[in-house]
């Protein structure tokens, strides 16, 4: 998890991204560039397109228009690399994602969930993958649960396993899609603590969240999405603590309670 490779060049980039379902435009031309070690928080009302947006970053949603660039190369529409274009499979191998509903593999143990990607996708040896997985599980505080099946874990534990599963691929970017929204309030803290530590260690992350205090705390940059566009962007201080846009003011006020 060391990524002290600081450069100003973007790791992943979205250019003029549009996404429509039929006649419904969810994303209406968004741009974003993540530099190494940067943590960007995406906030906004539900239906504003923030989940769709980060799901476009690893091509779980195929953009209707616009480009994703990874390591300054265009991501193509094929699974494998194609000439100058990076394949979707390659992109996803280096860009991890954690989901709101965990999506752990219920037929595999905690350890197998974490080793599945390295063994099957990266062809890492089983022994090496298991060693690294145990190490990651220890980091998220779940080493003793390695033989358990996901059904026997709490929501917070599941989400920490899901984070370990994503980290096992040694991603350059981590996408977090409302990772605490499905958790009981008392379990949110343990997951946020793990993410906070990743941020401190320099992991590049795009985080969709409703946790305003958390976003203000860990993000270098906060984007406010509204009706499919980036309505306001800036430091956490500007966007969350001193919002200018009236809709953003209303939104932030509601979450501050």
């Amino acid at each position: 998890m060391t990524m002290n490779n600081h450069t100003d060049a973007s790791v992943i980039e979205a250019i003029a991204l549009r996404k429509s379902y039929g006649t419904h435009d969810v994303l209406k031309g968004l741009d974003l560039s993540l530099t190494r070690g940067e943590v960007v928080a995406l906030i906004g009302p539900s239906g504003s397109g923030k989940s769709t947006f980060i799901r476009c970053l690893n091509m779980l949603e195929i953009p209707t228009e616009g480009t994703i660039r990874f390591r300054q190369k265009k991501v193509g529409d094929r699974f494998r690399d194609n000439g100058e274009e990076i394949g979707i499979g390659t992109l996803r191998r280096h860009v991890g994602m954690v989901f709101q509903h965990f999506n752990l593999f219920p037929h595999k143990t905690v350890l197998q969930n974490v080793t599945e990607g390295p063994i099957i996708v990266c062809k890492t040896s089983k022994r090496e993958a298991e060693e690294r997985a145990m190490d990651l599980l220890a980091q998220v505080g779940l080493a003793e649960k390695h033989a358990a099946y996901p059904n026997h874990l709490s929501g917070g534990q599941k989400q920490r396993v899901a984070i370990a599963r994503a980290l096992a691929m040694q991603p350059e970017v981590l996408l977090l899609d409302e990772v605490t929204s499905a958790l009981d309030p008392e379990l949110v803290g343990e997951v946020l603590a793990v993410i906070r530590r990743l941020a401190e260690e320099g992991m590049t992350m795009a985080i969709v969240t409703h946790e305003m205090a958390f976003a203000a705390d860990v993000a270098n940059r906060v984007l406010f999405l509204d009706q499919g566009v980036i309505a306001e962007a800036g430091s956490a201080n500007d966007v969350i603590l001193n919002p200018q846009n009236p809709r953003l003011q209303a939104f932030v006020a509601r979450f501050r309670g």
Partner: protein, 221 residues
């Protein structure tokens, strides 16, 4: 009514019953084997992104699900040869029809299992870089097949019973042999009771196993 049961005269022909039972088991196992292959292929076609495959698979399924198996057997044995010119062996016609019939149902069972798996599973597999094939074989299918195992066994139990219909095209299965024994002994009550008892004997363990598996799956979910 007093009836003098006489199983003895019928049981003299136990070797005919056992031979018939053996044939029934063979047709069951054979048609399940080919049916699983046909079922997987049809299921894959149904889930394909090319509409041609989807349509062909759908037409095949509907033809075999919407006609009685008896009609299919008669058609394949008596009508199909006229269509292509030549003749078809009754055992081949029987196995072919049984396989195509059960394949259509298996395809629907497999498909139902696959589409019942939460979309998040496929997304999680994709998000760690798995190819669609890896995602299907390592994540989706293991869960889907486990989920449909009870339905699969039920369909296979039905299939065992369905093999009795091949007797109408003179395949010497258990039902056919029971009729033969009846012809020899003029003892329909005993002949057909022995036949029924043999079917129960074969299938009871299977239905019990299906129930047991279903209960276990419910617990582990």
């Amino acid at each position: 009514m007093t009836y003098n049961w006489d199983f003895h005269s019928v049981w003299q022909f136990y070797d005919l019953f056992l031979y018939g039972l053996w044939i029934s088991v063979l047709y069951t196992i054979g048609s399940i084997f080919f049916g699983v292959i046909i079922g997987f292929a049809t299921c894959a076609a149904r889930l394909s992104r090319w509409w041609m495959f989807r349509t062909i698979a759908r037409i095949y399924q509907e033809i075999f699900r919407c006609t009685p198996l008896l009609v299919q057997l008669l058609w394949f044995y008596y009508a199909f040869p006229l269509l292509v010119g030549g003749s078809i062996d009754n055992r081949v016609a029987g196995m072919l029809t049984l396989s195509l019939y059960v394949g259509a149902f298996y395809a629907e069972i497999f498909r139902g299992g696959i589409v019942s798996i939460d979309r998040g599973q496929r997304e999680a597999a994709a998000a760690i870089g798995m190819s669609p094939w890896q995602s299907m074989t390592r994540i989706i299918l293991p869960q889907a097949l486990k989920r449909v195992l009870p339905s699969f066994i039920n369909q296979s139990v039905i299939q065992f019973k369905n093999t009795s219909l091949v007797s109408v095209i003179s395949v010497a299965d258990l039902a056919y042999m029971a009729a033969v024994v009846n012809g020899q002994t003029y003892r329909p009550l005993e002949s057909y009771t022995v036949m029924a008892a043999l079917y129960i004997l074969m299938l009871l363990p299977l239905t019990q196993a299906a129930d047991w598996i279903e209960r276990r799956l419910r617990v582990s979910d």
